[in-house]
Amino acid sequence: MKTSVSTLALMAALALPGAAFAQDKNVKIGVLDDMSGLYADVGGQGSILAAQMAIEDSGMAAKGWKIDLISADHQNKPDVGVNLARQWADQEKVDGIFGVLTSSVALAVNGVAKEKNLVYMNSGAATSDLTNSACSPNTVHWTYDTYLLANGTGKAVVKSGGDSWFFLTADYAFGHALERDTTDVIKANNGKVLGSVRHPLNSADFSSFLLQAQASKAKIIGLANAGGDTTNAIKQASEFGITGSGQQLAALLLFYSDVHSLGLKMTQGLQFTETFYWDLNDGTRAFSKRFSDRMKNKNQPTMVQAGIYASIIHYMKALEANGSNPHDGVKMVEKMKSMPTDDALFGKGEIQPNGRKIHPGYLFEVKKPQESKYPGDYYKLIATIPANEAFTPLDKSACALVKK
């Protein structure tokens, strides 16, 4: 008797989730980002808004789905990010994690997503390791990566004569990856790297580093950093007369929010690579109008925020195609890889076997103040990098998921 009761209980326990499985249309996703630190304008509240808009625009609610959204601040600290991701997986039962700026945090969360079998769509981190040595069947890397930045900005600068470089590198996973990938591009184009200095993340004063760059006599000072570090470096480079004395800055990663914050006078002429700009076409303009209307400071979206929107839209499409939520990260990522991507912000594209989402990249130049005709009119399109050239070629990917 005792055994049969326990057998029954076991059967019920096994059967119940199975029954729920068939029509499970409940989904919970989390946006994990820098909400308060030096990258908060790149992601932050705008990331949450982008996620909300994606959920609304997907129309899933009308089709009987229930999508919950939660968010948290990882403070750019890998340990905080990992703890939050674990908590979300164990207690909140989230299905997917989105956003995750800051490469060090992104790589750490990558491990948790794999361990807990979550969907992990990163929009914000730069390191190309996410789809190379650290690739995972649970991970999609959406917006951009260091390979794109190096091949976009790096190549353009070397080809226009900037063949000797000195790097100012943020001393963590992102800076190292960006310096490495850009160095590869410089060397492949017969340029040389004269030296580099690694500064701590979130440095206020760059004068000492800039003097070292100046002493190197390199033609190009490559800024392998982001957010507040980049804006401080650009501002102080102008103060120390570096930009006026024949040396040029190459901001390898520059966001719309950085240009907005520094102003055109300080940033004019800088060339950099992005995959999204609010004023690129009708689709991006329509989205950005709706976005900025709902932002408290009326800012236009950054490419990171746009990537969160587009990645959630694609995830929703895959869920719909699947008919129900399997609560299985690997399965959903496979489903997403099998479907071509198409959205108003990044155009048509696909997700490669290594998790790399590919779409065109754009080499932009910051306009001169007199060329800017209306608020937010900051960029001039210099060149379009086709989707198949923008990211690491599959045959060169160090990812174990790629069959060779």
Partner: protein, 291 residues
């Protein structure tokens, strides 16, 4: 690693001196407040940030230039300090240090949170005043005029403050009021008002440093939060409450940090704390502190 040229060395020393100016100005304010009021003012970084924002708004809303902001911002923020002291800090007089620390820390979080909510994290631009743009070629480095101005101006302010507190009659009253407020009151001196004004003055110094830094860094809500921990280390190394100690240590640590940025840049944001740990082990009261 040690094949440094004298040119580069001079340049790094000078750059360190510039950063030291900010450390000195900020730690001076902290030292004045701690020495006279026995309050560990954790809101100092937030008030420094408000000084910079004040300069930004004076310029962009009211069209008041940098030079006037140098006077107005410390006065306005100093007045805010007076209000804070009268309405909140005064109630904590005589209690353990911890209460003042918690109150000012909470204030700092609230102020920074509010600013971040309204202005975002990347900050607002503030241009260098027209008269101080450009720079001098010193042979070993290009010294922006504005940076030279920062060093000279903050050194002047630091020494003037030291003189006022250590060498004038007013300073003597202040120091006496710290030692024995009851006795000084008996001589007919309004001690509570003196304490309030001292806090206002310390806060004004923070705001002044904020205005000075506005053209160098972006005016960001977290500019003070990033700096204040280092400045506290400076005050601890110099000896809590020692005026001259905080000035000398401020400049010295700025230089030391500058050299670290050259020899081993990865450690440049930790070197100050390593020094602090060593100093506390050898001289627990700080280099200039009295036991």
């Amino acid at each position: 690693m040690f094949n440094i040229s004298t040119q580069a060395l001079f340049a790094q020393l000078l750059v360190g001196l510039i950063n030291g100016s900010f450390y000195a100005l900020l730690s001076l304010g902290l030292a004045v407040i701690f020495g006279m009021l026995n309050i560990i003012n954790f809101a100092h970084g937030a008030l420094y940030m408000m000084g910079a924002f004040c300069a930004y708004f004076l310029l962009n809303v009211l069209g008041i230039n940098y030079w006037m902001a140098l006077i107005l911002a410390p006065l306005l923020i100093g007045f805010l300090g007076v209000v804070l002291e009268r309405t909140m800090l005064q109630r904590l007089a005589g209690l353990d240090h911890l209460y003042g620390l918690l109150l000012t820390f909470g204030l700092a979080l609230i102020i920074q949170g509010l600013f971040q909510n309204y202005f975002g994290s990347s900050g607002l631009p503030y241009a260098i005043p027209q008269q101080l743009t450009g720079g001098q070629n010193l042979g070993f480095m290009f010294l922006p005029n504005y940076r030279a101005w920062v060093v000279i101006f903050s050194l002047t302010i630091c020494l003037a403050t030291w003189f006022a507190i250590e060498k004038t009659k007013l300073g003597a009253y202040l120091r006496a009021a710290t030692e024995n407020p009851t006795l000084v009151r008996a001589f007919g001196v309004n001690v509570p008002r003196m304490i309030t004004l001292t806090y206002g003055f310390g806060v004004g110094l923070a705001a002044l440093a904020g205005v000075l830094s506005a053209p160098i860094n972006q005016v960001r809500p977290l500019m003070g939060a990033d700096l204040i921990i280092v400045v506290f280390a400076v005050v601890v190394i110099g000896g809590m409450g020692s005026i001259m100690g905080s000035i000398v240590t401020g400049f010295a640590l700025g230089i030391l940090e500058g050299l670290t940025k050259y020899f081993y840049p990865e450690a440049s944001n930790t070197v100050v704390f390593v020094i602090m740990a060593i100093v506390l082990m050898v001289k627990p009261n700080g280099l200039f502190g009295r036991a």
